[in-house]
Amino acid sequence: MRLLFGAIFALAIAAVLGLGTTWIALTKGTAYGGVTIGAWTAWPKNGTAGIDPYARAIVARTGELPVGSGDGIAFHAYSDDTGQPLDGRCNVLVSGITPQARFWTLTLYDPQGRLVANSVLRQGFTSQEIIRKSNGTFDIIVGPRARPGNWLPTGGVERYQLVLRLYDTPIGMATRAGREAPMPAIRQGGCQ
């Protein structure tokens, strides 16, 4: 009788523990092999045959296709430079320069990777659309209300993420430091 209870107890704990950790690992993030520069993180290995089992499982679950390493690299930002999560009700300034690449795109997604609806049908910018200052840097204002210049609307959503994709770029697996890859700064300002 004690054996039976023990076995049921152990199996129950094993099931909860095993499935629970899998669920957390697949929904809460991809910790392995990330390259973090400022607020931005990329997983260059996910675009190669060397993708790790956790990232494979995440890709299978969400149904996305990672950017191939011969094509480009995608940097995700979930928070500003101070670590505060990006809030769609606040004004966020993305400014500076981007690493060397033939083209880049900056896109705003909700946490599940869907585009966010807004009145002006703008979900992102390409490197060619952006208005730059005379020294080559740019300011992009991400916020709920229309602003002059490069305005990326948030649609007022609570949480979002920015994805900066570099195409035809030397940035990749060998990149480690911000010196090689100067990413734009993200500063969160006033909220509404």
Partner: protein
């Protein structure tokens, strides 16, 4: 007390095994991965345009809205495939994914170095069967070997400004992905 500790230890070990097994098995059991989503509307060995992502509808998450996208779901069981796409004005890339959505190869217009990206796609076995004729060893002939019989070719053309969309779409419409006629 010791008995309880042993049961707990056993439970921890078993839990670890359950965790690893589910993570490793999930990719082969996923029924709603990118390949399955494409297979729902695209016939094998044909280039099919993918509708642009909108906030309400997108084929898959994290699609870049600045790109026009077409896809070819390939099946190499009957033989190798010939693939070609004319490059658009801005930036064109071709990425290859296995049946389980692993990106194993990608090439862009600059790497191709010509006005057309042209290549042969085959399995390792089909590559081994090829005769090394002069035609086969031509320097500019690109052969891509797929680790799996099935997979996806994703063709993407950048539209740096909205006005470029028709040109990008036109380049993708001219893409071809068809079984090789042996001869």
């Amino acid at each position: 007390m010791i008995r309880l500790g042993l049961w707990l230890l056993g439970a921890l070990l078993l839990g670890g095994i359950v965790h690893l097994a589910t993570v490793l098995l999930l990719p082969s059991m996923a029924s709603h991965d990118a390949y399955a989503r494409v297979a729902a509307f695209a016939p094998a060995n044909a280039v099919v345009p993918v509708p642009a992502p909108t906030p309400d509808r997108a084929l898959m998450p994290f699609m870049d809205p600045a790109f026009a996208v077409s896809v070819c779901r390939y099946d190499l069981t009957r033989g190798p495939l010939k693939f070609s796409v004319p490059i658009s004005q801005a930036y064109t890339s071709v990425s290859f994914y296995t049946r389980s959505d692993i990106a194993y190869y990608a090439i862009n217009d600059r790497a191709a170095g010509r006005r057309v990206i042209e290549l042969d796609l085959m399995t390792n076995a089909q590559r081994a069967d090829l005769q090394d004729t002069e035609e086969m060893t031509r320097a500019d002939r690109l052969i891509v070997t797929s680790p799996t019989n099935n997979g996806l070719i994703v063709i993407r053309a950048l539209t740096p400004e909205p006005g470029w969309l028709p040109a990008a779409r036109a380049a993708l419409t001219a893409a071809q992905c068809r079984p090789q006629t042996l001869g």
